[in-house]
Structure formats: C-alpha cells, structure tokens
Chain length 216, copies 2
DNA sequence: CCAAAATAGATTGTTGACAATCTACAAATG
DNA sequence: CATTTGTAGATTGTCAACAATCTATTTTGG
C-alpha cells in the first residue's frame, strides 16, 4: 500500500517562499530578531543584493515592510539602520498592547480553534517542557512565540495579526538580547499549559483573570 | 533692511515630498481614508502608474507599506485590495489600543511639549471650535487627528508612532464612512480643550482619569 | 456532452541600467 | 585662516523591459 514511488504516500515539502521579497524580508527580520544585526547596524542594498544574489527591487520592498513594521528606520537618500527601542516604551506600550491582543484572541479562541489547532498547541507544550528540562532558553522563547502566533493568527483578521506580529517581533528581539529574565523556565511552561486548558474549558472570565495576573 | 531680493528676509517653501514612493503612499492612503477607495476596491499597479505618471517601482514600494500598515491586502500574483475591518475588532482592539497610546503620550507630553507645540495645539482648538460652529464634521475629524498626531509624534519613538498612525488611520477611515456618531460636536471640542489644559497643568493622574472616562 | 489540457490576455514579480542625492574631501575665494 | 564652492565616490531613487503566474477561454480527447 505504501509504495515509496507512489505520490499518495509521499508529500514534497511545500515551498512557502512565494516571492523573493518575502524571502528577503524573512531573512533580514530573523537576523534582527535573533540579534545578528544589532540596533544601529546599517543595511546597504547593494551589499545585501550581492550576498543573497537578488536584485535590489525585492530588497527595497522588503525594507519598506521592515520600516513600517518598525524594526528599521530609513533616512531618505542616506541610509537605513536597525532601530533601538527605549526600555520605557517596551514596558509601557508594547507589553500591555500585546497582552491586550492576546487576551482578545484567547477569548475568541474558545469558539474558533479546531481540533488541529489544539493538537498543534498540545505539541508545542510538550516541546516547551523538553526545552525547559534542558534549560534551552532560545528554544523555549521560540515555542512561546509560536504558541501565541497560532492562536492570534486563527482568531484575528490579517490586518490585526500584522499589528500583533510587529509588536511581538520587537519584544522577541528585546528578550533574546537581554536573555530572558524569567523567574523560572518551568513557570513559563505551566502558564501556557493553564492557558490552553482554560481555552478548552471555554471559561472566558478566567481567561481574562489569568492574563491579568501574569502581567509582571 | 528687508530687501525683497535678500534671502535673509525671505524663505522658500520647504519641499517635503522627498520621494515618489512617499507621494504615491500618501495619495493612496488618503484615498482610502477619505473613502474614495472603498473596502474591496482593487489596486492595479499599471493603472495607478499611468494615472500618476510614475513607474511601477515606487508604487510597489508604497503598496508594501500600505499592506504592512493594514489598509490593503495583497494576494501574490493575483491582486491587492482595500481591506474591510470587522466591527468587533475596531471596538475591542483598535479603539482601546489607540487610547492606551494616547494616554502614554499625553503623560509624557507634560515634560516634552514645547511652547511651539502648545501654540500649534491651541490653534487647532480654535479651528475645532469653528468647525463645530459650522457643523463641519469632516474638518473637525481632521483636526481631531492632527491634534493627537502632534502629541504622539513628539512624545514617542518613530517605531511607536508608526503603530499609532496605522491604528488611527484605520479608525479614521471607519469614522468617515460611518459618519461620526458622536453625541455632539461641541463635546468633542470641549474634551480636547480640557485635555490640553490638563497637560499644561502637569497633572498626570487626572490625565489618566480624563482618558478613562471618555472611552465610550 | 464532459473533463483535461492547451492557449491568450492580464497582472504581478524581477532585473539591470540610469538618475538623483548625500558625504567627505579638495580647491578656490576673500 | 575661515568660508564657500566644486569635485569624486558611494548609496539610494526611478525607470522600462522582461519573466513568472494567474484567470478565463478554447481546444482536444473520450
């Protein structure tokens, strides 16, 4: 039944890099978020162009997205550099706003998430536990992001998802550089486990409470 | 002393349209916000290109900004259309988030705004009163936007200002289409007058109260 | 007649060449 | 010597041609 030469039993990996612009955008974004490009670093179009073997058109479009996203700032005819965010804005604007979006999404999630979504989220929790056991901060941080990303993307319009994504991207960049000052990794895992349980149970009141109490 | 041929007594108007991309972006954005392009309307690159007499490069870059801003959505190789936002997201995400940003900005404003800023804001209030007296909704709406824009832009980083701007743009588009359901125009003017007075007085507590009570 | 395959037209994606602007430094001017 | 003016090189902005992809229509094969 499962013939290796039979396409019914085999699937090629989907190429989700639909365009060069998308590819360039993701590459630069990841470099910034993972800290390979630090705040103040300059982005030269021709330099990137040569490194990626792509013309400047798609690169310029990617830069426009990154600029509107707020990861980069362009000075006309001069240069574009990676931004630096103030501690105050991160704490008083970005963090509460992200919370607000995730609360809204979690409450919608009660009636929106499918069995597939829950399976995906359960799997993330499993991986988080592993990462926590191995003290793997980087992996845990990535799983954290993926967890909320799935929920928000399913429960909110593309325009709203873009806002959440731009905010969480900037926060993620921050945390990776600062090195996660959480009380304990195990706590992070537990919190996500509880949240998922609350969504399953459908108790919107307690979802709000849960997110309110964890605004440290 | 004031010789008309002497540059010391004369200043040329500053050209702030730095690039075609910027021009195209502003034009399309205004068309969407003012309702000349309704939700679902399609944007064709060549069509815009001919109308504006600009090549497709700058137009594509402008579209990338509008897309990340959430005013437009692109389907690869297919089309890009003006977005339509859900009532629920506008009320539960956009409005409170904008309030949050404006509260943060207003509190910073106490120690940031200059005499120039206050003069500018005073003048806006004067114009608002005029607009209110003449029942000019459109003008009042524009002044409202400019009022908060000035405060937020002065008190927040460029990256944060972009987020606020994308949110207020979407809300502005909404209100222009729906036609402002405020209790009365005069109330709007009064609220802004009070807010400016509170910033001048430097009472951050009451600024928070003021914005909290006006979250209708 | 229906379904799969081929085709044509429209639209978006990509490219390389050329233009405009900036910075830094050199030359001229007083 | 200080200030202005004029280069040269680097970098970003713009353009027009070409390539890839999508949609709708037509053709083909059964």
């Amino acid at each position: 039944m499962t013939n290796p030469n039979d396409l019914e039993s085999f699937q090629f990996k989907k190429n989700d890099t639909v365009s060069l612009r998308q590819f360039v955008y993701q590459e630069i974004r990841e470099a910034i978020i993972k800290g390979h490009l630090e705040p103040g670093a300059r982005l030269r179009e021709v330099e990137i162009s040569k490194q990626m073997n792509v013309s400047r058109g798609p690169i310029r479009e990617a830069i426009r997205i990154l600029e509107q996203e707020g990861l980069v700032i362009s000075h006309p005819y001069r240069e574009t550099v990676v931004v630096d965010l103030s501690e105050e804005e991160v704490i008083h604007l970005l963090v509460p706003t992200r919370r607000h979006f995730e609360l809204f999404a979690a409450q919608k999630a009660v009636s929106v998430l499918t069995a597939d979504d829950f399976a995906f989220l359960d799997n993330i929790i499993l991986n988080m536990q592993e990462a926590s056991d191995q003290d793997d901060l980087d992996r845990l941080s990535n799983l954290d992001l993926k967890f909320h990303e799935r929920i928000v993307e399913q429960c909110v319009s593309p325009a709203m998802f873009r806002i959440w994504n731009s905010i969480s991207g900037k926060l993620h960049a921050r945390f990776l550089i600062q090195g996660y000052s959480h009380s304990s990794l195990q706590t992070v895992v537990e919190e996500h486990r509880e949240m998922l349980q609350l969504i399953r149970s459908g108790d919107k009141e307690r979802i709000e409470q849960h997110l309110q109490t964890h605004i440290k």
